[in-house]
């Protein structure tokens, strides 16, 4: 741990400063030119060759007193931290093992100790218990204990609950080895961080107490006591407090810097930081280039089969005319195209990786397009590009997205505001997270109506209640005033759908909208989407890794893998006669889990309608 901290520049500064302060504390009195308690010169002189920091109000050498004060101040801080560790860690560890009652009581005590006005209690405790050094250390250590209670408790909990300890023990490792190898590496950094900050805090508190003349009384030299006398003569020697102040600040800042360095270098992120730094140091440009090339080659490998497939599906994705939707469902004159995406390419602008390429599809009014593919295949990125909400680091490098005949390439902010919600909207997986936890659910729907449709408050509420009924929510009045944490996932998805269709959009994108809901709720939501498609003429883009979902809703299916389209065509054709082996694989996998039901019933029926 120390070795890692040393590798950071800030860590080296912290360690150097702490060593200096510790050196002063231990050997300070050996270096002092005079006896710190003796009058050795005239009163209140300025710095001179004889008295480097001048003399105080009874002619004692200030430098000697600063050096003598280092011992008590710094060692006091170390002792305080040690006492706090003892008082905190012991009940912290035991709270995990000694049962509920002990746990509850200690937790309440810790809550209380944290809430106490610290310094007043430290002063009162020290003075009432006898006003000595020992009492001061005990009082401050006791009041600082909560930090260590919490750290040791969470460390113990993580070890007690962790499976790796069990796994390692089962695989025959000795307990001691497990503790050293796994537990210590997890527990040591937080304890080191707390110790370091507590030492800094302890120095401040001990100095505060001695400044007040509590715990240690004059003439004994402490940094706090020195500052108290400096303050009395501040009009005569305004520079006098500087030296103790600088020493205290160096010590406190070094403690915090050290804690930060431990925090930065601990754990997985710390390892990355260190290796990144090492890489920077070994800044061999050639090396770097080679690395990059290798990385690109590696990345190039995975989309390779996909690109060979694009040829396969090229005729399908090339133009919408080629995509013949199921004949039975489409009237003679085809409905207008509401969403048209062509040759879309999305690139990570940082490492230039191609995340989506040659993506293309179009959706007609009232139709449903299903996009299927494993996670990471670029489904969600594609629809984020369609909605204009790609993360900043990703760029649409080529291709067009046309919504209701308007090319989004040169959309202004206002254009996006006009089109989102009004023409195109979306619902997502984990619906609760897409609704504000602090605002009534109903208000979030009526907000859209008030802002975008300029409805009055009352009209917006009435319309919201109507929408809640339309998505089959029971007791709309009640739900209007409920919060996210008060409803189940299925109900939240209905609310999210109500918000999405509030303005009557033409296209609704459902990105994994039923994933993680349980099976009956899932089919209810799918039914709802289908109903909205039919009653409101909504066009759907349904994105899922689940073929069953796609099969139930889609007229047309698009299969994605590694950022590219590998198969695209009418749902029946893709699901019944998959051309590409990956699609075939998906389907055979699914057949085992009941895809048959959908293939035979739903799609079969669809063709008959």
């Amino acid at each position: 741990m120390i070795k890692n901290v040393w590798r950071l520049a800030s860590g080296r500064i912290a360690i150097a400063a702490l060593s200096l302060i510790l050196f002063l504390a231990v050997f300070g009195s050996l270096l002092s030119p005079y006896n710190p308690d003796d009058t050795v010169g005239p009163q209140l002189t300025g710095p001179s060759a004889q008295f480097l920091l001048g003399t105080d109000y009874i002619g004692r050498d200030v430098l000697s007193r600063v050096l003598a004060g280092a011992g008590l101040s710094v060692l006091g801080a170390l002792l305080v931290a040690a006492i706090a560790l003892l008082f905190g860690a012991l009940p912290g560890v035991l709270s995990v093992y000694l049962g509920r009652v002990f746990e509850w009581v200690t937790l309440r005590v810790i809550d209380t100790l944290i809430a106490l006005p610290f310094l007043v209690f430290a002063v009162a405790m020290t003075a009432l218990l006898g006003n000595g050094v020992f009492q001061a250390l005990f009082a401050v250590g006791f009041l600082l204990a909560p930090v260590f209670y919490r750290v040791s408790r969470s460390a113990t909990l993580s070890v007690a609950n962790s499976q790796f300890v069990e796994a390692a023990t089962l695989s025959g490792a000795s307990t001691w080895w497990v503790v050293r190898k796994h537990v210590w590496t997890k527990v040591a950094p937080p304890i080191a961080i707390s110790l370091s900050t507590t030492i800094g805090l302890g120095l401040v508190v001990i100095s505060s107490l001695t400044f007040l003349g509590i715990g240690v009384s004059p003439p004994r030299a402490t940094w706090g006591g020195l500052l108290a006398t400096d303050l009395e003569y501040i009009a005569l020697q305004p520079w006098a407090p500087i030296v103790p102040i600088v020493l205290i600040l160096i010590a406190v800042l070094a403690c915090n810097l050290f804690a930060d360095a431990v925090r930065d270098t601990a754990g997985e992120s710390g390892r990355q930081l260190l290796s990144a730094q090492a890489a920077k140091k070994a800044d061999k440009k050639a090396d770097k280039k080679a690395d990059k090339k290798a990385a690109r080659l590696e990345r190039g490998n995975s989309p390779a089969p996909a690109s060979s497939v694009t040829a396969n599906s090229a005729p399908a994705s090339g133009s919408t005319a080629d995509v013949t939707a199921p004949a039975a469902r489409v009237p003679a004159d085809q409905p207008e195209v509401v969403l048209d995406v062509r040759d879309l390419q999305i690139v990570n602008s940082i490492d230039k990786a191609e995340l989506v390429e040659d993506m293309g599809f179009s959706v007609r009014r009232g139709q449903a397009l299903g996009i299927v593919g494993e996670s990471g295949s670029g489904k969600t990125l594609t629809i984020r590009a369609v909605l204009g909400i790609l993360p900043k680091s990703l760029k649409e490098t080529s291709g067009t997205v046309v919504i209701l005949g308007r090319d989004t390439a040169d959309f202004s902010k206002q254009d996006w505001l006009d089109i989102r919600g009004n023409s195109i909207s979306a619902v997502f997986q984990d619906p609760g997270s897409y609704l504000n936890p602090s605002i009534w659910l109903g208000r979030q729907v009526s907000e859209v109506l008030r802002v975008k449709k300029k409805l009055s408050r009352r009209a917006a509420k009435a319309e919201t209640l109507r929408l809640f009924e339309a998505v089959h929510l029971r007791e709309p009045h009640l739900i209007y005033e409920q919060y996210v944490h008060e409803l189940s996932g299925g109900m939240l998805q209905r609310v999210l759908i109500a918000a999405a269709i509030a303005l009557g959009p033409d296209v609704l994108i459902a990105d994994e909208a039923t994933t993680a809901l349980d099976v009956t709720v899932q089919s209810e939501i799918l039914d709802l989407l289908q109903e909205l498609q039919e009653t409101q003429g909504l066009s759907l883009v349904v994105i899922s890794h689940d073929l069953a979902v796609i099969a139930q809703l889609s007229d047309e299916v698009l299969v994605m893998r590694s950022g590219a389209v590998i198969e695209h065509g009418p749902a029946r054709q893709v699901l019944h006669h998959p051309q590409h082996e990956y699609t075939q694989l998906l389907i055979t996998e699914h057949e085992r889990f009941g895809l048959d039901r959908f293939l035979n019933s739903d799609l079969g029926e669809t063709s008959l309608v």
Binding site: L116, L119, L128, S208, L212, R420, P437, H477, E524
Partner: protein, 346 residues
Amino acid sequence: MTATLTPAAPAAGRAKKDSRVSVVGLRMRRLLAAIGRILTALIPVFLLGSLFTYMLGAISGLTPAYLQLGEGATPAAIKALDQQWGLNRPFFVQYFSWLGHVLTGNFGNSWVNNFPVSQLLASRAIISISAAGVALLLGVVFGFGIGALAVRFQSTWVDRVITVFTSTISVLPPFIVGILLIDVFAVWLRWLPSSGFMPLSAGFGSWLSHIILPAIALSFDTIADVARQLRVGLATASRQNYVTGAIVRGLSGRRVFFVHVLRNGIGPAVAILGLKFPNLLGGAVVTEAIFQLSGYGQFASQSAIKGDVPAVQAVLVISVLLVVIFNLVVNVILARLIPSSASRGL
């Protein structure tokens, strides 16, 4: 296909009245739950804090005899005095009788001069409350201001300068800041008085000039923590899915920020105020010594050195009470701001 179209029968036709009643029920349940959560967090803190305070007096071994009778007291005289003060009763009887008096505003009499402690404290409290209040105000105003700047200019040099600034001032202890402020503003620039207090009745300018330096010394830690929590809170809130959700619904960036991000994002900054308040109160002990204000902090340390147990206990229990009340307010604000935030107590 059409058969699958009607899912679980919608309860659209349900009587509106029923629904109204359950809406009221919902509100009541929520209110009671919030009150319950806040009280179960705060009452143990007050009880344990007061118990700790009272125990401190008991284990100190100090008695009024020690203060009033001196070294040569006869055992009989000591016993009589103990009986007079009720100190021969069992500990918990004493504690609950003291607690009952405290809750009715009677903080007992000083062992030194038999004066009611509440009288001794009343005039001093205004000084400490002035300093802590102004410090809290500075903490809120500058904390939110600096934090908002950091968020506005996120990951630019402004943000980095603010980060360094806040992490530096957060470790500067009040008594060091206080000495430096006196050095600069009272001794060197001679702009402000270095010590003393003027009541508000003597004029706002005069009051402020005496209280501002102690308040600044106290406020640094609060400013730094509020700014940091605001920065982190807003940054975290603006990354949440509900922000994406609001954008997709077609709401403007301004509206998304002010309605959806701000409300959730300031939660941590408000919560940290509850944690910082004890420091503002406790710090009084040192700042009052530096600026020679005879507030309750000075009273506490002087009484403690003298061994005047009831006086010390009164100050301590009042400070615990203030912390609890302040946290009650913070928790109510938080519960209104972010209803889902389970109150984590103090």
